[in-house]
């Protein structure tokens, strides 16, 4: 069920459903569970009616494993779904389309969430739309901020990409050639045994605010791509010694790490903006709610005469509404996924999706 080839997805059946074209408001429900957040959101023509979320939080020093994360999603699916419907004050029969995350993400959590989406779609007799997680972030960012055609920096625990739209495709101009920036931050948080509540990145951000001394560390930019694995090995090895000797505090190291990795991200974003002649930049993904990253991006943007668009943790971090929003965009152009193709895939690139809803 997991490994559906990308071309099969591309060959995705497109139906022109006449009832979509009527002026009636469309209500979409979105199911997101590609990582450690289970989110279910309801959207009515660009208005977020509800967006509850439950996060699987592991003990300090530990990451989340697929099996346990899937178990978490299964345990909370019904209560989160109930909350989403109640908060939105929407009855199942009023919903027009069920949207779910097809990928990319961790296999087991994806499958357990898709199962819930498929079940309700059949119970309620509603069409279903499979959504690319990254596209969900981009469309939600555009909806919330009103950005028209931004260069997008998508930064999370699993993804680091600089994306721009052209010719019915979200093209990836730059990306990490090894690990994601969020993964780099999370793993450093494990070295420091920081709490995973609400998220390791949030706790690094808080410590970094108190950091003063800047430590130079490897800075790796290759064209519009970045690399973090060398930097992570360096800091993982050095940190315990530097802290023990008293040369640097954990706060200093969090500060230095943030300054370095964010500068790399801003640099490739700026290069992509120069390349595409773009004057809007949008930050999405979990790392995107980091205030220091937003501040640095804001300075870069203003110096180029560009505008920064960013959102807060409600929409930056994985949530159900973003899947509903992207699914709604697809649905209104006639995209529906046949039930037997409602599978999941761990690897699903942003540029594999034909963007039917933008000109």
């Amino acid at each position: 069920m997991l490994a559906l080839a990308a071309n099969q997805w591309k060959a995705h059946l497109r139906l022109n459903l006449s009832f979509v074209k009527t002026t009636r408001m469309v209500i979409a429900i979105g199911f997101e569970g590609s990582a450690n957040k289970l989110g279910i959101g309801i959207i009515k023509d660009g208005e977020v009616l509800s967006n509850p979320r439950h996060t699987y939080i592991t003990p300090p020093g530990q990451g989340f494993l697929p099996k346990d994360t899937a178990k978490h999603h299964r345990e909370h699916a019904l209560s989160v779904l109930k909350a989403a419907l109640e908060e939105a004050n929407v009855k199942p029969e009023e919903i027009d389309v069920v949207c779910y995350t097809k990928g990319p993400g961790m296999g087991a959590p994806l499958v357990s969430t898709a199962l819930v989406a498929r079940t309700v779609a059949q119970l309620w007799k509603k069409p279903i739309v499979a959504v690319n997680h990254c596209i969900g972030h981009i469309e939600m960012g555009r909806l919330i901020t009103g950005a028209q055609n931004p260069t997008v920096l998508y930064v999370s625990g699993g993804n680091t990409q600089v994306i721009a739209y052209s010719d019915r495709c979200y093209r990836i101009f730059g990306e990490t050639i090894d690990i994601a920036v969020g993964n780099c931050l999370d793993r450093f948080a494990r070295v420091l045994k920081l709490s995973n509540d609400p998220s390791p990145g949030y706790n690094i951000e808080q410590l970094a605010k108190k950091g003063k001394q800047y430590l130079e560390m490897p800075y790796v930019v290759k064209g519009m791509d970045v690399s973090f694995s060398g930097l992570l090995s360096y800091i993982e090895e050095k940190a315990p010694k530097l802290i023990e000797s008293g040369a640097y505090t954990p706060e200093d190291l969090c500060f230095s790490l943030q300054e370095t990795v964010f500068a790399m991200l801003i640099e490739i974003t700026e290069r992509a903006m120069a390349h595409c002649d773009s004057n809007e930049v949008l930050i999405v993904g979990g790392v995107g709610c980091n205030k220091r990253l937003q501040e640095m991006m804001g300075i870069m943007a203003s110096e180029r005469g560009a505008t920064l668009y960013a959102t807060d943790e409600r929409f930056c971090i994985d949530n159900g509404a973003m899947i509903a929003q992207a699914g709604w965009e697809m649905y209104r152009t006639g995209v529906v996924t046949p039930l037997k193709e409602t599978t999941c895939t761990q690897r699903f690139r942003t540029d594999e999706v034909e963007v039917t809803w933008r000109s």
């Binding site: 050639i177 800047y214 800075y219 903006m273 994985d318």
Partner: protein, 224 residues
């Protein structure tokens, strides 16, 4: 009179003791920590000048450097007059020629020169670091294929196949995103690169690294 502002430098045109000159000034990036900014700017000026000279010695055309001013973070270098970027040239050819296969046919000689030049560069262990079609110039009539490489700010000197593979990967990504439907032209560049390399085991290793690096991007295991 800045003529152009790139992502990290402003270019000014003038003359240097009677010679046409471009001043490339790297400006301060206020978003990054001053220590990091200073270190990166210095490092990039040095890399740029070093790789530029080393390319020249290896028989690759680059603009001659006249002077460096570390106080103002500026490099004064020869202005390549009457030049277009390879990017502009490809766009012109693509715009004037609707037929895809004849576009490829027209660009083939250029692709070969690019491939040969990059092979020369890598044989001498020079890694450009930011290969794009905007960082290659064609002097005079584009048909003369007088190719100049510019913008060595991200360059380094490395002997490893990994670094050379990444260098080609960066070009591939930039090439295909800037020029839709140009996979054939890029394949020509790689073929010429392979032919030009005298050390066949080295070129084989670099190109298999390139395959490996492509997969890293596409198949990376990830978490939402």
């Amino acid at each position: 009179m800045a003529v152009l502002q790139g992502a990290e430098a402003k270019l000014y045109v003038g003359d240097f003791y009677g010679r046409p000159c471009i001043m490339k000034e790297r400006f301060v990036k206020n978003y990054r920590h001053p220590t990091l900014d200073k270190a990166l700017t210095n490092q990039r000026i040095k890399s740029e000048v070093r790789a530029n000279l080393r390319c020249k010695i290896s028989g690759i055309q680059t603009p001659t450097i006249f002077m460096v001013n570390f106080e103002t973070n500026s490099i004064y270098m020869e202005e390549i007059q009457d030049a277009v970027t390879v990017r502009q040239h490809i766009n012109t050819v693509q715009a004037s020629e609707p037929n895809l296969s004849s576009v490829c046919e027209q660009l083939k000689p250029l692709a070969e020169v690019i491939g040969q030049t990059l092979a020369k560069m890598h044989t001498n262990n020079i890694i450009h670091g930011d290969l794009t079609t905007s960082n290659m110039l064609l002097e005079g009539d584009p048909k003369d294929l007088s190719l100049f490489l510019i913008d060595f700010g991200l360059s380094s000197f490395e002997a490893s196949a990994e670094d050379k593979g990444v260098d080609l990967y960066v070009l591939e990504r930039a090439f295909l995103s800037s020029h839709p439907n140009s996979q054939d032209v890029f394949d020509c560049i790689l073929a010429a690169y392979k032919n030009q390399m005298k050390d066949k085991s080295a070129s084989k290793e670099i190109l298999s690294k390139l395959d490996e690096i492509r997969l890293r991007g596409r198949k990376r295991t990830m978490v939402g």
